[in-house]
Amino acid sequence: MSFYGLVDGTEASLKKYLGSLSGVDQVGADARAAMLATRSIKTTSKRWAIDTAITMVDLTTLEGADTPGKVKALCTKAVRPDPTDSSVPSVGAVCVYNDMVKIARTHLDLIGGQHVGVAAVSTAFPSGRASMEVKIQDTKDAVDAGASEIDMVIDRGAFLSGRYIEVFDEIVKIREVCGTQAHLKVIFETGELVTYDNVRKASFLAMAAGADFIKTSTGKVAPAATAPVVLVMLEAVRDFYAMTQVRIGVKPAGGIRNTKDAIKQLVLVNETAGPEWLKPSLFRIGASALLNDLLMQRMKMDDGYYASPQYVTID
């Protein structure tokens, strides 16, 4: 593999590549993210933003208690988020555990949801604590079952102990398993990497290793997709594009629960990576509760009042 000509796969070249990155000043990044949160958008753009945000949602259920029934209900909601309004677009994908992939894919196809992707969380999600063999097998399972997107977790232990080459190799191997069938999203669990320097380093590492998307969090650790973390990742994909002419996607996940938060994310995208990233092929939001708030705000824009929560479906 060529790794965009940035590294040759050896530890030395990876160290050089990561060492060439500039640092991130935490105070400055926090201040910039806070400033962008004060932007106010037009009512007409708000409608566009809500619909765009809906198409960017990876509608997620990642519970021990998930059942085929729950997953099928989620798929129905993903295809037609508002049963009373066919103008509401479908979400980007449903995001489930591996064993639910086949059920999700089959059900989506059955109800006319061929255009909705199935994302599988893989590589011993959420901790990533398993052998490489297990992680590869885990991913193969999901790909064989029909997953179109693989959300893998990196080995944070390896990253934090400086064994970057291990993290790199893992991503490369999982990328191979995904082949051409599945897009690869790489989850950093930024709440465990903690510093923005680490987030920037992980971003560049994952992009060179072949990630199609870089993703903040599993949703199992707090803090998750904070605005400054997303800012740092958006700066990374923007800079990576300048280096390679390849656009990598970004997926914040965890903690984005309402329309206001989602629109703030879109403002971050618009002013950092640029409007080219404002589409579901380059920006996704991993969420479960968010979709209903988007629907309620959409209804409010049409009807002029807030409907009771009973007017949106619980799943």
Binding site: S22, G23, V24, D25, V27, G28, A29, A31, R32, T38, R39, S40, I41, K42, T43, T44, S45, R47, W48, A49, D51, T52, T55, P89, E235, A242, L266, N270, E271, P275, L278
Partner: protein, 483 residues
């Protein structure tokens, strides 16, 4: 998908209904608003709309104000305990907070600065200065200035148009805390928030004559500077006027502090956090349209990262939102006056003719009002006028250096020395550079951060004395040295 593929920000204008501007103003002398004789218009620089008529203070007005201030000093303020003075300052601070939106809207209308800045910076910091100095009022003997520090008496204070209310707070709060009474003259183009502050003094029931505000132009300022009844002069403004004041007070007993111009170096080392440095460059020079004496107007950039930083800076500058200052989304507002706009144009034209390369952010400037697009000049050398003279506008001169010492040498090679910025992720380099730089305020990995506890002031032609903190307080007390 939506009908329109765009993501636009709304004009989110702050309401003007909060403020009531009188058609005509007089002076505030002896606790009362008194009529002026001659008037001149004050305009909104974003629209050229005439907001009100401001009185041009003459000799009789200044005499009356000094007399009122002297009387208040002798009969009331100097006899009052520090604890009591502090109560008034706390009360003023609280009222300023309560009326903060009113102050912010009025400041933006009169000055042209974005409402986001007047709301988030000018007004809260002004209140903070009163709170901070309120705390000092009854602790002067513990300020390390001797056991019985004394006030000067009557302070004459002349402030600029770039931060009208904030500069008032920097001047009035320490003067009052130290036990002085004041005669203050706001800048000709921005008197309205000072006059609103006069209302706050009334509301706080501050004893009559403790604060007197005489509006007017440079001639009014000269009357204050030369008035024999004034014991201390505090001035913020241009170096040119500062020199005139220094000459005027030299043969007198007047004590003086001057906060003058600057041409601050913002030094970016190759090991800096690049994206945050770019934010810092933008904040350093485009904050308040570059109408900041401590603006980072010279970017001193290490050559090894120059291309990368400049490309990122241009991309970032293209996203600066220039326009209606009352819109909460606006980043860069109007130039304060036609005179200032002409000065910026003159100096930037000199940049062109001396061979520097101009680049301005692509943005639509409103048809009316005074506007200047955010601009950078590359290929600037030490010998260019735009590297030496203060432009006081949204214009950045970019110079490069090869070694850290060369960067420091270029930064210090200026008649000014108000502020400087250092950007590096390497702590030892930051400490080393801060010891080499000859500037009164040095920021590391940030820029344009202000706090009442921190002394502010310049080296060389950037001024005499300090404002803020214990050092600033000492400028309003007698028999103790400042510096």
């Amino acid at each position: 998908m939506g009908e329109k593929l765009s993501f636009e920000y709304a004009p989110a204008p702050e309401s003007r209904a909060l403020v009531s501007i009188k058609p005509k103003y007089g002076h505030f002398i002896g606790g009362k608003f008194v009529a002026g004789s001659k008037h001149f218009p004050t305009i909104n620089p974003a629209t050229e709309e005439v907001l009100s008529q401001i009185a041009r203070g003459g000799k009789s007005d200044v005499d009356a104000a000094v007399k009122a201030a002297r009387k208040a000093y002798t009969t009331t303020w100097s006899k009052m305990s520090g604890k009591e003075r502090g109560k008034y300052l706390f009360r003023i601070a609280r009222i300023m907070q309560e009326r903060s939106r009113e102050f912010a809207v009025l400041e933006t209308l009169d000055n042209g600065k974005p409402i986001r800045e007047s709301r988030d910076v000018d007004v809260p910091l002004s209140a903070a200065h009163f709170f901070y100095h309120a705390g000092w009022a009854d602790k002067l003997e513990y300020a390390g200035l001797g056991t019985t520090p004394k006030a000067h008496g009557v302070a004459g204070q002349i402030i600029p148009w770039n931060f009208p209310l904030l500069m008032l707070a920097w001047k009035v709060a320490p003067a009052l805390a130290a036990g002085n009474t004041v005669v203050l003259k706001p800048a000709e183009t921005t008197s309205l928030t000072a006059l609103l502050f006069a209302e706050v003094c009334q509301q706080a029931e501050l004893p009559a004559g403790v604060v007197n505000i005489v509006t007017g132009d440079g001639s009014t300022g000269a009357l204050i500077v030369n008035h024999p009844g004034i014991d201390k002069i505090a001035f913020t403004g241009s170096t040119e006027v500062g020199k005139i004041i220094a000459r005027a007070v030299a043969p007198t007993n007047k004590s003086v502090t001057l906060e003058l111009g600057g041409k601050a170096a913002n030094i970016i080392f190759e090991d800096a956090a690049i994206d945050e440095s770019v934010e810092g460059i933008v904040n350093g020079i485009f904050f308040n349209q570059g109408h900041v004496c401590c603006a980072g107007s010279r970017l001193i950039l290490q050559e090894s990262i120059a291309d990368e930083v400049l490309e990122k800076l241009k991309n970032r500058m293209a996203k600066i939102r220039v326009g209606d200052p009352m819109d909460k989304n606006t980043d860069l507002g109007a130039i304060n006056s036609k005179e200032q706009l002409l000065k910026i144009r003159e100096l930037t034209a000199a940049g062109d003719s001396e061979g520097a390369e101009r680049w301005s952010a692509p943005c639509d400037l409103p048809g009316k009002g005074f506007w200047f697009a955010p601009t950078i000049f590359t290929g600037v050398t030490q010998a260019h006028r735009i590297a030496r003279e203060e432009i006081f506008g949204p214009v950045l001169s970019v110079l490069t250096f090869r070694t850290p010492q060369e960067g420091i040498d270029k930064a210090n090679n200026t008649p000014f020395g108000l502020s400087a910025g250092i950007w590096s992720e390497k702590g030892s380099k930051v400490l080393w550079a801060s010891q080499q730089l000859r500037a009164g305020v040095i920021w590391a990995n940030t820029f344009n951060k202000f706090d009442p506890t921190s002394p502010f002031g310049g080296y060389k032609e950037s001024g005499w004395g300090r404002e803020g903190g214990r050092h600033g307080l000492s400028a309003y007390l007698k028999g103790v040295s400042h510096e």
